[in-house]
Amino acid sequence: MLEYPSGGTIYIDGIDILDKKTDPAKIRQKMNMVFQSFNLFSHLSVLENLTLAPIKINGMSKEAAQLKSMELLRLVGLAEKADKFPDELSGGQQQRVAIARCMAMDPKIILFDEPTSALDPTMVSEVLSVIRRLAREGMTMAIVTHEMDFARDVSNRVLYMDEGIIYEEGPPEQIFENPQKEMTRAFIQRIRSYTCRISSPDYDLYAMNAEIEAFCEKQILPKKTRDSLLLLVEELLQIYTPYLPTTVLDLTIAYSEKSERLKVVCESYGEAVNPFDSDNLADDDFGMAIIKSLTESIEYLWINGKNKLQFLFKI
């Protein structure tokens, strides 16, 4: 094993590969791997890259191996490149050769380690279409990828991994349409966020404004949106000010690049209290009127000992 897992279990066809009685080499014969940076043998032709292992390891005759390899090269659209060397091919072509080389060993499972991340964007689709074809034909594949649209189309089980653990897993419909956990949501919806902790009524509004402006500039939000967002934040802080001597407020501005929506989330600790209840508001309702005019929806939740108010910003 290249890396020994620090935790968890891995089963292949019901066999625990971490069990001491298991022979990893035997299990490995059922699998093959496509690397991020192709890893073709540069001194061998495309055809020789494909025939090497079937001849040396499986004891196949040269003729049979060549026949089969040509079939596989046709499958990935590269039969005419059989006599070329890897250096004479584009990145996308090299990766297709690497996939064909994998297939030459008749694996039951193929592992793909970010198969398109080393490629020029124009070459990504040619590799993905080969993988799509393998998926349609029923090949079992474990693919590490950042190509979200591709993962959604091609998979029947998605594992979202972060900080060394499987953070969330489920069918693609769940992970992409209705992720249950916050970090998965942030990743899928490409959410960029800014959070500020306010623990005193003497907060520095202008320093916060400068940070919010910088955040908006980074997301290339129009000036009108930025000005309205600054107004919304000031009004929210005004409503929260009476609570600030006794509570800490975390204010988060989250922008989804995917949906192009802005959300402002206020989380405060302490007893359950909604600052937007009419009993808790100032005599005039200017602040509330401004907030309502700038937002599409306001939602109050009490979760895990936190008051959470979410505002969906009108864009």
């Binding site: 600054l230 200017f286 009127a289």
Partner: protein, 111 residues
């Protein structure tokens, strides 16, 4: 916020620029109280150079209107435009304050 005053046609023209928000509203209120206490009870507030107003700023303006009413004075706002005007609209204050498109027109309204 920059706060400047001048006398024109027996009225005090107050020019504010920058922001009228939770940070600057207390200073605005203080300066307005001083003006009114020293007998300036006809006031034009010129918004030409004001970029931003929040509810805190609106409360400062309402306080000014209240103090002037108690003294028998009056106020007219000039050049309330763009984002600042929108905030007045949202809070329904466009019908409460006298507003004109220029300082000259506001001075006529107060005359």
């Amino acid at each position: 916020m920059d706060f400047q005053t001048r006398i024109e046609n027996k009225a005090t023209v107050v020019t504010i620029n920058g922001r009228l928000d939770a940070v600057t509203a207390p200073e605005f209120e203080k300066r307005i109280r001083e003006l009114i206490d020293s007998g300036n009870i006809y006031i034009v507030v010129d918004f030409e150079q004001l970029d931003y107003i929040s509810s805190a700023g609106l409360r400062g303006l309402l306080l000014m209107a209240k103090l002037l009413k108690e003294k028998g004075g009056d106020v007219c706002l000039a050049n309330v435009k763009g984002n600042v005007r929108s905030v007045f609209d949202i809070c329904g204050l466009t019908t409460i304050f006298k507003m004109e498109n220029s300082v000259a027109e506001a001075l006529v309204t107060l005359a």
